[in-house]
């Protein structure tokens, strides 16, 4: 499961643009993650310029 730290997030859209399965959407003040679609590839975690994204084991 992908967790985004809203306090760190810059709403820059980097994670959205690199996600290979279009699981993310940039809203004006947050990033929406479609956890069902996410394949846990981890690319967004490495791509976030400020380290706002973490991936935890399992779903919910």
């Amino acid at each position: 499961m992908i967790i985004i730290d809203k306090e760190k997030c810059l709403w820059c859209g980097t994670c959205v643009g690199v996600c290979p399965v279009l699981a993310m959407t940039l809203k004006e003040t947050y990033v929406d993650v479609d956890q069902e679609r996410c394949t846990s590839c981890g690319i967004c975690v490495k791509a976030c310029p400020v380290g706002a994204i973490t991936m935890t084991e399992g779903s919910e």
């Binding site: 643009g17 975690v45 310029p49």
Partner: protein
């Protein structure tokens, strides 16, 4: 659900989308521009460097408050500190003016509106209306109201996120090595030269990318970094490298940060097609960024003008929608593709270079008299200094 009908719906109010809207409306099309943010142009996600050629490329006057500073050229600094100075006209599409992107983008939106384009802000395109293989418009939402917006041509100018171009089925998904991830601070109290943009290259500064200092005025500059995603093994890589760079510099370390932006740029080739029936992508959404410099404002605007003009001919019934899209594909490629391909190859080679090799190249090229700087002269200088390096570049120089 409200229904709207236009000749052209443009999604995204950046330089690409606003320019499409402006030229399509100017040439007679009924245009609607959607921007999901509440203010066109803000927050800024850009180093704000651009060549002065933008004035003539999309017919702008150098007024309206969007120019912050004018620079004489660029300095490219190698890991050991060798400097290559390039005059403004040789320095590529990111040097000339340092602009205020928030004011610039809004200025372009105003030009579009003045030509008659309708604009809806705080309006998100939530998906494409697809019928058979054809795209017929977008679904959108503004302040809780749902819209179905039909159009003869839907334009994806939705930037790096590129959700729409990917949903449409264009091959705009990116490989890791084709993405640079960025962070930038606007800093006050910097003591760098306000007349030059500076680019620091090499693995030690910015793996696979560079650190930039773009002066906005006497003591204010955008200080930012792009790192190739291939070299980012964990989150916050750009921030760590940029903070290290700033801490090591007497002319920066006491400066104050008044703004932080993040973002990413594609450093890829554009896909083989950027159009489909009833659909076109433009700008970052079509991966038109220059892979060597990471600059995308100029290319997005140049391609946007081509698309807007073609769609104008469609509205005047000189071309069918399909013919207009074909004309756009042909014209934007004629304007941009050779340089995009060459600079993509250059970026691929640079990714493989060690810091020592970068030093040798900058030293060799730096020894050439500026007036004589041509690709042949560069190759010759590199050949004399390091024959094996010249071979690496021989095929495309």
């Amino acid at each position: 659900m409200k229904r709207l009908k236009y000749d052209v719906v443009v999604v995204g109010g950046g330089p690409a989308g606003t320019t499409v809207a402006r030229y399509a409306a100017k040439n007679g099309a009924k245009v609607l521009l959607l921007e999901k943010r509440q203010e066109v142009g803000s927050p800024v996600r850009c180093g704000e460097g651009i060549s002065k050629k933008i004035l003539q490329k999309i017919e702008l006057e150098p007024d309206g408050g969007w120019i912050a500073n004018e620079v004489a050229g660029a300095k490219i600094i190698s890991p050991k500190g060798s400097v290559l100075e390039l005059s403004e006209d040789l320095a590529g599409n990111e040097t000339g003016y340092i602009i205020r992107r928030d004011i610039f983008d809004k200025h372009l939106a105003k030009l579009a509106a003045t030509e008659g384009a309708d604009i809806m802000v705080k309006t998100t395109a939530t998906g494409l209306i697809k019928e058979g293989g054809k795209i017929r418009g977008v679904f959108a939402r503004q302040l809780g109201q749902e819209y179905r917006i039909e159009a003869d041509v839907t334009v994806a100018a939705d930037g790096f996120e590129a959700r729409l171009s990917r949903e449409a089925g264009l091959k705009t998904f990116l490989k890791l090595r084709d993405v640079d991830i960025c962070i930038q601070y606007e800093m006050v109290g910097v003591k760098t030269d306000p007349l030059f943009t500076e680019f620091y290259i090499g693995q030690s500064y910015a793996p696979g990318g560079y650190v930039w200092i773009f002066p906005k005025s006497e003591n204010v500059a955008n200080v930012g970094i792009g790192v190739n995603l291939m070299f980012s093994k964990e989150g916050a890589t750009p921030k760590r490298y940029l903070d290290k760079f700033i801490a090591s510099r007497d002319d920066l370390k006491r400066a104050k940060i008044v703004e932080i932006n993040g973002g990413a740029v594609s450093v890829s080739m554009p896909p083989e097609v950027v159009t489909k029936e009833g659909f076109a992508a433009v700008g970052d959404s079509a991966r038109m960024i220059d892979a060597l410099t990471g600059g995308g404002v100029m290319n997005g605007a140049v391609a946007g003008k081509e698309l807007g003009e073609a769609l104008g001919k469609m509205a005047q019934e000189k071309l069918t929608p399909n013919e207009a899209l074909k004309e756009y594909e042909k014209n934007w490629r004629r304007r941009l593709e050779v340089t995009l391909a060459r600079n993509y190859l250059a970026k691929e080679r640079l990714l493989e270079l060690t810091d020592e090799e970068m030093n040798d190249i900058i030293e060799a090229v730096g020894s050439i008299k500026l007036e004589g700087l041509s690709t042949a002269a560069i190759l010759k200088a590199v050949k004399e200094a390091r024959p094996s390096l010249a071979e690496k570049f021989a095929d495309f120089l």
